[in-house]
């Protein structure tokens, strides 16, 4: 039993570390995105020669940030919820609510993952590209979507196990991990 618990705990910590790593890495895409769009403006207005690549590149980066950040947002509990009833109930009831919520979210993400893998294979088979003049490949986007979904599923599963543990024992499985910087800087009015 203890061994199983240790394995589960290791799994959760591993997922936590992986998701945090990806979440941090994605943040470096933000300045890149701004730079690409600003470069297009510069190239068009100052150099009088609009690029053919900035439009699609900026959209790809946007999609990568939007999708890959999802798991990290789940880890940070940053996804928006309506917390009116949720905030009024005990920690244990909360974890029972979470069992339901996270399962629903996982169900959705499993479908997203399955469809993204399908689109990835299709993109390879038919050589799918963007419809623009530059016509970059689409396959990497769908692969990224599949990875983003898997990460979210992993994080949700880890959170689900944690909620189950709390629902049964009344205690969290893992001592609350260190709050991230974003939260420690939160303002208390």
């Amino acid at each position: 039993m203890i061994m199983i618990m240790t394995a589960i705990r290791r799994y959760c910590l591993g997922v936590h570390a992986l998701v945090a790593f990806i979440g941090n890495s994605v943040s470096y895409l933000m300045p890149v995105l701004a730079f690409v769009v600003a470069f297009e403006v510069f190239s068009r207005y100052i150099l009088d020669s609009p690029t053919i690549w900035a439009y699609d590149t900026s959209l790809f980066i946007f999609g990568y940030i939007a999708a890959l950040g999802g798991a990290y947002a789940q880890q940070q509990r940053a996804h928006i919820n309506v917390d009116i009833l949720y905030n009024k109930v005990s920690a244990r009831t909360k974890s029972i609510f979470n069992l339901f919520s996270f399962a629903l979210a996982m169900f959705f993400m499993v479908i997203v993952c399955k469809m993204s893998i399908g689109k990835f294979e299709e993109a390879l088979e038919f050589n799918y590209r963007r419809q623009s003049e530059w016509a970059p490949h689409m396959h990497h986007y769908w692969l990224m979507m599949a990875v983003a979904s898997v990460l979210l599923i992993l994080q949700l599963s880890s959170d689900w196990i944690d909620a189950l543990h709390q629902a049964i024992t009344g205690k969290p499985l893992i001592e609350k991990p260190l709050e991230n910087e974003s939260e420690e800087e939160g303002i208390a009015p």
Binding site: E40, L85, M115
Partner: protein, 440 residues
């Protein structure tokens, strides 16, 4: 096959339950749509996901969201945003609620840069929420001001929903833009009036700045004024880049990012770590906003494929009501639609169904379009479900609950409802200015 009325009721019930349990909004909406969809349609419905993902992630219009959020984060983290408000405090600090008033003015300027709700609220929230909370403002007042001010993004030109309305009903965009100016001005004036009056009645809502023991030296005063002016210059530069034809409203967000970095260097507050931290926070917010949009779009696409638009169209035919009642009923329907769909789909769906009816009843289409915009502004910020609510929750510090946000918006929604009603009663508020400025 299940009737669309019954399906709508079931979907509605699922939303209420999952929201009550505190499920993450976007992922829950996606899960509900897939679950109910599987039972009513089968697994072929899952194919709605790839097209929805592509149309959300590859939308150049939504690209304004990451760019403006990043700009907002850079401004706060470098202290440039504070410089702006410090200067304004020096100017009008003796008025109670002065900071909230400056925030409304700044929100109006942001409204003149962005054309979509998400960018408006998240930029205004990034820059202006913290200064108000730190100075001890009542959090409901602070949240409400951001929500109301950020919503101006679609009322003050440029406005993407207005462009969509004009094209789908074959009306002039120029007339829409100009027609919106007086209602926008009325909204801003009323917002400021509300802040002033409510702070007079309840001084605790907006504490006065503590008068410092030592009066600031002229040099300090000069520095505050200079910093404030420089930061204002950034807003002017972003606006200028749109007006001068250097960048589109979407791209101007990137100009803002570059400008914020340049200013940070000038203020000697530039640190690579600051840029990275701003990027971290912005990426998190972008992801949160986009997963809501993806989940909500999957949900509304399923609902639309099942024919909810035909239900609305069928309902509005042959009403046999007096004309003004028809207009009021349309407003009610749009407010209810704000419960499940975003600003763009409301326009796409309602503009072509409602406008011809309004015009056939003898109403001016531009006036009707502005009513629609005013209505959408309200619809997306009325509980329990509204994109503006979720964006604001995303940007707010962790100790702000959804209930705080719900409670904060009541007076501001009433105020906007008031604007909607007076514009409905006096169509000249919309039609007069375009007639003056544009011939024919």
């Amino acid at each position: 096959m299940i009737s669309i009325e019954l399906l709508t009721a079931i979907l509605f019930a699922c939303i209420i339950v999952s929201f009550a349990l505190g499920a993450p909004v976007g992922l829950a909406l996606g899960g509900i749509a897939m679950g109910i969809g599987y039972m009513t349609w089968g697994d072929a419905l899952f194919n709605v996901i790839p097209t929805t993902l592509e149309s959300t992630h590859f939308s150049f219009i939504l690209l304004a969201i990451p760019l403006y959020i990043y700009m907002g984060q850079l401004l706060t983290r470098s202290g440039i945003g504070d410089a702006m408000f410090n200067a304004s405090q020096m100017l009008i600090g003796r008025v109670r609620g002065s900071l909230a008033i400056s925030v409304i003015v700044v929100c109006s300027m942001i409204g003149a840069m962005v054309g979509i709700i998400g960018a408006g609220i998240m930029t205004s929230g990034s820059i202006a929420l913290r200064p108000m909370l730190e100075r001890g403002y009542d959090k409901r007042l602070a949240l409400g001001v951001i929500m109301a001010g950020g919503g101006l993004g679609i009322l003050i030109p440029p406005s993407i929903p207005m462009i969509m309305f004009a094209s789908s009903t074959q009306n002039s965009v120029g007339r829409m833009f100009i027609g919106a100016l007086i209602p926008a001005l009325i909204t801003v004036v009323l917002l400021i009036a509300y802040v002033v009056i409510s702070c007079k009645l309840n001084p605790k809502r907006a504490p006065m700045d503590v008068v410092p023991e030592v009066q600031p030296t002229p040099k300090e005063k000069f520095l505050t004024a200079r910093d404030g002016l420089l930061s204002l210059l950034l807003i002017v530069a972003v606006l200028g880049s749109i007006i001068m034809g250097i960048a589109t409203p979407t791209e101007s967000g990137a100009i803002g990012v570059v400008g914020a970095i340049v200013l940070a260097i000038f203020f000697k507050r530039f640190k690579p770590r600051m840029v990275q931290k701003a990027g971290m926070q912005a990426a998190l917010l972008v992801s949160v906003a986009m997963w809501i949009i993806v989940g909500a779009s999957v949900f509304s696409n399923f609902h639309l494929l099942m024919g909810v638009q035909n239900m609305v169209a069928g309902f509005t035919q042959d009403l046999g009501l007096p004309p003004i009642m028809v207009i009021m009923l349309f407003q009610l329907i749009m407010l209810l639609l704000g419960f499940i769909i975003d600003e763009f789909i409301i326009v796409l769906m309602c503009a072509p169904i409602f406008t011809p009816i309004a015009v056939s009843l003898g109403y001016d289409p531009i006036w009707f379009g502005i009513l629609m915009i005013l209505n959408i502004e309200i619809a997306v910020q009325t509980p329990p479900y509204g994109f503006a609510l979720f964006y604001l929750k995303g940007i707010a510090p962790p100790n702000i609950t959804m209930l705080d946000i719900y409670k904060s918006i009541t007076p501001f929604v009433l105020l906007k409802l008031f604007v909607l009603i007076i514009v409905m009663m006096f169509p000249e508020l919309v039609t007069w200015l375009p007639n003056q400025l544009m011939d024919g």
